[in-house]
Amino acid sequence: MVFSSHIFLFYFLPVALLLYYSAPRRFRHFTLTILSYIFYGWTNPIFVLLLLVSTLIDYVCGLVIAFEGWRWRGEPPILAENTPRKSVQKAAVIASTCSNLSLLGFFKYFNFAVGNLNALAAWLGLPGLDVAFKVTLPLGISFYTFQSMSYTLDVYRGHARALKNFVDFACYVSMYSQLVAGPIIRFEEVADQFRRRDHTVTKFARGVAFFTMGLSKKILLANPCGKIADLVFGAAGAGPLEAWWGVLAYAFQIYFDFSGYSDMAIGLGLMMGFVFAKNFDSPYLAQSITEFWRRWHISLSTWLRDYLYIPLGGNRKGPARTYINLAVVMLLGGLWHGAAWNFVVWGALHGVLLAAERARGKTSLYGNLPPILRRALTFLFVLISWVFFRSPDLTAAIRYLGTMCGIVSVPPNAVMLKGLVYQPYYLLTMAIAALITWGAPQTWDWTRQISGWKALVIILLFVISAAVLATQAYNPFIYFIF
């Protein structure tokens, strides 16, 4: 089930809000958990079991870690940060980390590993592995394993108090607003909200504003841009101009798709009293790659920073190790997005540039240029790297880059693309997308003050989005597959 679908908007959401607000306060998390499991199971019912198992493991591990010095009476204490942990606590955190990474590894990378082993075997002239099955990727596994893992790690580090109530923990892991495509909510950030939070009309109204802005970003901008990108990337070939147009459309698609989803998730959270942090901060305004990663998918970059980069040593072990750590984090970050070599290359490109910028004191390689040129060059780099992200494989990505540079021959049928991708509707959508990307305030800022005319705009946007949604069968969410 996706947020921008008829069934979610007009059936699931009203029923969910009704059940949530009509439930007694102490049953609200239980209600929310059941609703979230239905939401998740709608995509593939069998994977509900996986979610439950993953949740159970981390819940038990969290309790084991907190058990020392507590013994079930009252609330579990927050462990002291700088005291040594006992072996049973270490074992619990290792068990949690390993089980999460194993789940992620198996479901996400098994097919990739088999494919690569077979390719290697074929290259060496050896027989390949005969695997009779293909592993299906459970929706949102990359998000909820990271989120669930952050719980045990936070409890272990003494950053948060363990949850005694299983329902509360299951609610944290499975909450439908951000279960399948983030933002990745770290436990320490929301732990207190699971114990107490306010439900106010103001909060709900802000949630409506967030949700509607996200919905319209998704339906009115991301989907049409996605159609352009699909046409160009799916074609046997394109002219250089269409290739640039296609990747620009993809840049808008992925931004409005994902930031729209994040807005909707934040909005839905607000409707239920939760406050989630900002996940996007106008990333295409960044003047360097370092800044881009402070603005793009912030919840992932902070997760990687706190749970991977810093444990690897961060910048405390000398410049060389810092660069290596950055490259490793970005490589793994790339692989987190998808089990394919093009994602690895995408991550590596960013990693190399991040390391280079770190060597220059966190300023870009073109830091002496005027800000507008720094933004343009950063966006250009991001645009080029998106080619690896969007292409079906590495060969296609390199070919596409060749087309952009005009060094690949253009097949005769490519000219027909012009009739499709430059239609007035697409030109208008791309112009609006550019205007909003570089000229309009963020949802966060725009909704800080809601006047009468803004409320009218919000309602109008909702109606237009619902009308356009009725005409669309094409409605993918890019980050669902990660």
Partner: protein
């Protein structure tokens, strides 16, 4: 402030900022109430409308459609129980796949039958098409009034259909509830040829080019050169010809036709013009003679009659514009009807030496339901040009397998449709090469054993009551390039008054879509009790065989002699 913000975590900043939403309490309340009303109204209206429909007798049940999902869970339970001998994991997977299929169908129906979505869809599409010049997922806008079918355009501009990566991607494009297609047309066609050759029958393959191949300049003025092929086309032809498969390539003939300043395709429809089709029929007849496939003209007593028909193309219908929008003009076409000496319409002859397997390119101008007249289709023209009768199996859409599948089913039921045949012409739209399911289909003539299926006397109609045991999938109106559709239904506990028929089973075909609207049959669910009129399929096959049909997968049903079902008014039982 900046210093303070830097010290706070992202979550703390968020809480501070959300806490400072500047909105008047009354306005906040109004916004929340309006939003909740907007998201609740469609569901509430839908339920009210369904209750009214039930009161009018247009709905079989008082139960709201939105709660149907709870009934559909039974399908998963049945799938779980079906094969107790297999492993638990396998059973779980089967049940999961069955449930997923039901859930997807439920969601599709919920949206498709929504009064709210229906009311918004057409005006919104009108604005998108008439003002902003864009089509939808099915229909692309060229220079007005030209429209293009999306899979046709995809076939021309996308990667070659024999490209290794493309084949691999399509071969793994299935889901838990839908099998992947067999993407490579070459082995399927060669296998078909081999099976026919065993019976001494020659196969002639006729891939019909699609509109963007001949009219690319109607999509973009700069694309003047035509015809345009998919990049695998030459490889495909070479692969077939090198294996001895006879191919009639219609594209050069249509290109010549266009070069003479004549349209090869209708502007607002997926299909060829009548004139272009006649030309291909003439050229194919010459090709068959030149290759010694037809030795003598037995002669048919037929005459030609030119009439004008007006219609709106299937691509306009797929745009789903408001009914009275008139955004696209009707097209007028002169068709050449082939009629008998007494003016009777042309009919296929099951004893003919040539069998034509075709898709909607064979049905247009022949099947009245397509809206472009009758008795003037490709089979009629070819028969006239050859001066010979023709046998025909023509089913709209799914040209990659639908007609081969139909032929195989008839053979399995003991009807030897290939008896006396010397040539099979296999016509399909070229787009099928890129997106068709080229499954291998064995052609085996079998003798049907005595089954549990009912056998009412031929030439009669029987009013019966029955229970729906299974129903084949039905396409969503407006998403397919045809306006009518027939669905196969497995009926159980069939009984008629007077005990002529008592308690048997039947395979029955029903009209599930008429003029882009679902009939009641399309909405039936397993276990529903219905009252219908049954006729032997053979009595009505000539009228309905050409209409696109979805079959049930159950192997046993292939033995059953099918029936045609009709719905008498107000016959659905209420529980």
């Amino acid at each position: 402030m900046t210093t303070l913000t830097q010290k706070l975590t992202r979550e703390e900043v968020a809480k501070l900022e959300i806490g400072h939403t500047d909105i008047h309490h009354g306005l906040a309340t109004a916004l929340v109430v309006t939003f909740v009303a907007f998201i609740s109204a469609p569901g509430a209206f839908q339920v009210a409308w369904e209750q009214a429909a039930y009161t009018r007798g247009d709905r079989a049940t008082r139960r709201p459609q939105c709660v149907e999902i709870f009934l559909r869970v039974r399908t998963a339970r049945d799938a779980w129980r079906q094969n107790p001998g297999i492993s638990v994991i396998r059973r779980l997977q089967n049940a999961n796949a069955a449930l997923l299929r039901e859930m997807h169908e439920y969601e599709d129906r919920l949206e498709n039958e929504s009064i709210f979505a229906g009311a918004l869809r057409r005006p919104a599409q009108y604005v998108l098409t008439a003002v902003l010049g864009v089509g939808n997922e099915k229909s692309y806008c060229g220079y007005r009034p030209w429209l293009f079918y999306r899979p046709d355009v995809d076939h021309v501009i996308r990667r070659g259909f024999l490209d290794r990566a493309q084949l691999a991607a399509r071969a793994s494009s299935g889901t838990e509830w839908r099998a992947s297609p067999q993407p490579n047309p070459v082995p399927a066609i060669v296998d078909f040829r081999d099976q026919l050759a065993e019976r001494g029958i020659q196969l002639v393959v006729l891939p019909v080019p699609v509109k963007p191949m001949l009219h690319p300049d109607a999509l973009f003025a700069g694309a003047k050169h035509y015809p345009r092929y998919n990049s695998s086309w030459a490889e495909f032809l070479e692969a077939l010809r090198s294996r001895g498969v006879m191919v009639f390539d219609a594209t050069p003939c249509l290109a010549e036709h266009r070069a003479a300043n004549r349209d090869a395709f209708l502007k607002t429809d997926t299909h060829w013009t009548s004139e272009a089709m006649q030309r291909i029929a003439r050229e194919l007849a010459t090709f068959l003679r030149q290759n010694g496939l037809v030795t003598e003209q037995n002669g048919i007593k037929a005459t030609e009659r030119v009439v004008s028909v007006e219609g709106t193309g299937d691509l306009v219908t797929m745009l789903q514009l408001p009914e009275h929008a008139h955004a696209y003009p009707t097209e007028s076409v002169k068709i050449r009807q082939i009629v008998g000496s007494r003016g009777e319409v042309w009919r296929p002859d099951s004893k003919a030496e040539i069998l034509l397997l075709g898709d909607s390119f064979a049905n247009i101008y022949s099947l009245d339901a397509l809206g472009w007249g009758a008795s003037a289709g490709f089979a009629e023209q070819l028969s006239f040009e050859l001066g010979m009768p023709l046998d025909v199996i023509a089913i709209n859409d799914n040209g990659a397998y639908a007609t081969r599948d139909q032929l195989a089913r008839e053979l399995k039921r003991g009807r030897d449709r290939l008896a006396g045949k010397k040539v099979v012409i296999y016509e399909f739209a070229a787009r099928e090469l890129s997106d068709g399911d080229w499954r291998m289909i064995p052609l085996k003539l079998e003798t049907p054993p005595a089954r549990r299926f009912i056998t009412p006397p031929k030439g009669q109609a029987w009013r019966v009551r029955a229970t729906v045991l299974a129903i084949a999938p039905v396409p969503l109106p407006g998403t397919v390039p045809y306006k009518d559709h027939v669905v196969a239904v497995h009926l159980g506990d069939v009984r008629a008054e007077g005990e002529v028929i008592q308690g048997g089973e039947a395979l029955c075909y029903f009209l599930s879509m008429k003029d882009h609207e679902w009939t009641r049959a399309a909405r039936w669910r397993n276990g529903e009790e219905i009252e219908i009129i049954l006729r032997p399929w053979s009595d009505v096959a000539a009228s309905y065989e050409g209409i696109n049909r979805s079959e049930l997968d159950d192997e046993e049903l292939q033995w059953a002699e099918p029936y045609w079902g009709e719905l008498p008014p107000r016959t659905v039982f209420r529980r």
